[in-house]
Symmetry: D3
Subunit: 226 residues, 6 copies
């Protein structure tokens, strides 16, 4: 029922769709799609300022075993994001400079891993972005099969191969492949509205007025005292 | 007994008192006031090097709900620090670029929140300092009342509106409003004494001698072996 | 059976051995010695880019009490690394600018502490590197004896006085004193082999081929689907 | 894209299939289906010895808000298991004696909630079983919509309405609805095989021999020393 | 400003008031007083079924140091609850069988400690109830002053000497001394209302109807699908 | 340097020494040996009331891999305690009913594991005691070598094969093999002294007087206020 498998051919959103989507950050996209698809907040970038967007190559690994990451490399295409889920919690350093070199050679945009990574100084110098649960020098073995490009739960979010992964300083979000266009549109609308709000707030107007909250507060019974 | 309320008028320490106090860092002030008033060490700045001091506008919010932060903005004056406590643990991103824009327009010095914040790249570029428990893109709703400027427990410390909040790379400390002058004086004494100690230590003198610890060690029965 | 004691004379590896070893990072050395001796991944540097290697002066302290760190300073020699273990979990700020000044005056390379430190801005400006479990302004007392240069368990790793401590952005590893030469040699071999692998990976060769994993995957029964 | 919705009609496995499956415990079923579908180990029963199996009614709630649990009650049928997922981490007490009374009146078998519950003494006396992340007296509001019977990620596992939930002292596992028969069969085979193994182990035979591990250990190069 | 002090005379609620209040559990009282005063959910009883209510004798201790608990014993009267707060997180076993014997001799109802306790088997056999953050055999020293009967923050809640502490299987709540009568009254009203609701729910009525939620759901825009 | 190895012959304390030691609980022994050798407080028994004492068979395992536990069974003798350390944090269920059956057949007293166990209901019914970090149905593989009867760090404590492990409701402590007699003697002295103290405390005498703390409090400058 659960035979390990590598799915080699996956659907990816078109380059145009990806280019459109990647103008927006994680928080905007998460809002734009109705607050779904956010990975847990323990997923942090190894250096500040990184920003990626690309289709997920999903990998399911066993604790302390990075065999399937090596398998997944072969399946990656330029612009992909490697996303590694795990069968039980582990902080080991599954990924370091050598795997980053290999992924870079294939044009992979970055790594998202619900476990640890290492060689973070070298990765930072290479500007190969990684979002991980931990940083750990602890190496892994290559003994146990897992799967590539099956649906996985990574840091609490369901990800299917080819879904778009966007990651920045706020964290990591997944956008379903068939919703990329709609989410992009919603994000654009949100950004425009926020730009207007930003100008008004910068001028000193209050959110209470802009968002029309005063009536709600009154209805809820908020009292003031001086 | 616990009706949500907004207290609009609060006492604040004088500008002179604040100016005097803010020459000292969190660790010094925490020592100077007898090791009270430190928020839990999980409260971390979103970027290194930030340093603020100002009177607290306190906000008590429900999990996943930032309604009361919007209410609190209106109460803030230039130099204030917005301090957000929560009724139960939550890591959601209550605060981002728009609220920071609004607070900056009102001259607020920074935010301390026992929950999450987002848009950290924009906040960093704006140099709007935030100390938070988490970074998370997860948004919040505006549905539940809380209170503004009532006494709160934030990250384990009791804070009353108008108490001074000081925050830097070491964390966040609260100084009671009626103790600001005394704490400033104690901090100044401590800094002077430490300056002398620093010079002696830099010269190679030992803390064992400067602090007179050798007798104590002997009394306690410490043995040496070679 | 457990009288507190300060061991004043310890064996240290020769300067040449240390110089040879410190060309390698934590992840490489951890691999080179068979994946032993890594401290827990919660031990993080207070600033990025620090790198130290030196013999351990071990200190065992009580929670909230830094008396024995002062005792240990006197025992340190240039190039040593002060390593502080604790009898039960504590995040207090045992160590700050003054102790760093004192250690620097004695030529100590850095601090590794399974507890908290403070004054991190000053420590960063001094470029005095610290790996710690927490950052906390909470000060400590000087009331309870512990030991210096006895074997300790620090963040899950056994450390004896004079063992080599190496720390960088990936964490902290301990190399047993009598294994320094052998580990250096193994690290050198590993680095050479990795350099070759890096070139091949950068060219686009796959780890699957370089590491000869295809047969193993086939033996394990991995299936492919398109 | 993510409008809150209540799906009122769901498919459930037949009573016979459920009856067959529920003869096996969580660990056995997790193994039988290839080690998929286990909820995180922080999900613990409020009292020892409880054991349930039934189709999931899934609920997605906001932090601190149990509105949708009330909505879900109406959709439950006898034998169902209410499974509550959350949009971000929260330990509040979403569920207590009154909701348990309501669920019991509808014949619901138990509750699985990735948050907190309360009234645990009353729940224990009622023998209404709950698996939760926390026990907390902190109440919740009824302000924010969520969904019922949409696919959710609960404590790291993907659950669809009508999937079978099995929970005991080892934790909680989900079995996909269309795999119930196959998993039952695999569980039965596993149990039979284990029964045989148990008898041999009880007699003093070794797992090394029963599982044929000696050759593998030899191949891997394990050394012995006396 | 923060000289350690023992306050020997405190106000306590009358025996009648306490007797009235203690008919209600923690969850009910927390609700009755507007969801204030709950200690963090990590505070757990060492055995199930314990239930206490009594005025707080507050103790503020240093990490790893139980000196002030011994000081506090002398101040306790029959029916009091000893409540121990800590200046920074610690899991040491501050309290065991001997201190329990001493407290029992003075008629103390139980202990609430934001740290660890030990001898839990003996405490369980004595039926001396303890709510703690941890169980740990690690002993403490008697070296550092703290205070008795000053206001403290314990597990996130502000407690003043003489405030009522109620603890059961759901956790620990503090009721302000001058609100005991009002909270008791509110609790009684709540219990009566819940009793009616329980009967209706047991009969099969739905919370949706009893609480009048259908209109709200409709207003919020909840959709149904079959 | 770190070749996996099974050490088959180990020294054990004599049966008489073990019998003498096991009259004391974990907290007493931890005190008696100068507060060394305690495992971290996250190590909890799967059921209350268990109590074991026996020489350690140490096992070092990889995350998610219980191969070496099977190897260790063969080395166990009646009365031994199997103690499992791990190379990096993992909560998987390494151990269940079958392994317990095998260990019981060999007369093993119990298991201490710095990871997870499963089948806890069956283990409880068998009264096979386990102290573990977690309970998890997640199974493990049998792919990676480790070692048996080498020194390990388990839950923060150094353990050598043949050291005595004592575990009860307060946790787990290790007593060095060559100190068993001395620790037993110290424990006996402590128990006698405590028995006397218990009688005096039960009579209402105060620890302040029995331990002679009043002078110390006065010297430290404790103030009283009424």
């Amino acid at each position: 029922m659960n035979d390990p498998v590598v799915v080699r051919q996956i659907e990816r959103p078109s380059a145009n769709l990806i280019a459109d989507l990647q103008r927006y950050g994680v928080s905007t996209l998460h809002e734009a799609q109705g607050r779904r698809g956010l990975l847990a907040s323990y997923m942090r970038p190894i250096y500040a300022g990184a920003l990626i967007a690309g289709p997920a190559i999903t990998v399911l690994v066993a604790p302390g075993d990075n065999l399937m990451i090596h398998v997944a490399v072969e399946v990656c295409r330029p612009g992909d994001v490697l996303l590694v889920a795990i069968t039980s919690p582990c902080t080991d350093g599954y990924f370091g400079e050598l795997l980053a070199t290999s992924l870079r050679a294939r044009g992979v945009a970055g790594l998202v891993i619900d476990a640890g990574c290492r060689d973070v100084r070298a990765l930072t110098e290479m500007r190969f972005p990684v979002w991980s649960r931990a940083i750990s020098a602890q190496g892994t073995v290559k003994a146990t099969l897992g799967s590539v490009n099956v649906p996985v739960v990574c840091a609490g979010a369901l990800v299917r191969a080819g879904d778009l992964i966007v990651a920045d300083d706020d964290g990591v979000v997944v956008v379903k492949q068939d919703e990329v266009a709609a989410v992009t549109q919603a994000a654009e609308q949100r950004v425009r509205k926020e730009e207007d709000t930003r100008v008004r707030l910068a001028r000193g107007e209050l959110g209470l007025d802009i968002y029309g909250l005063r009536q709600k507060l009154s209805d809820l019974g908020l009292k003031s005292s001086s």
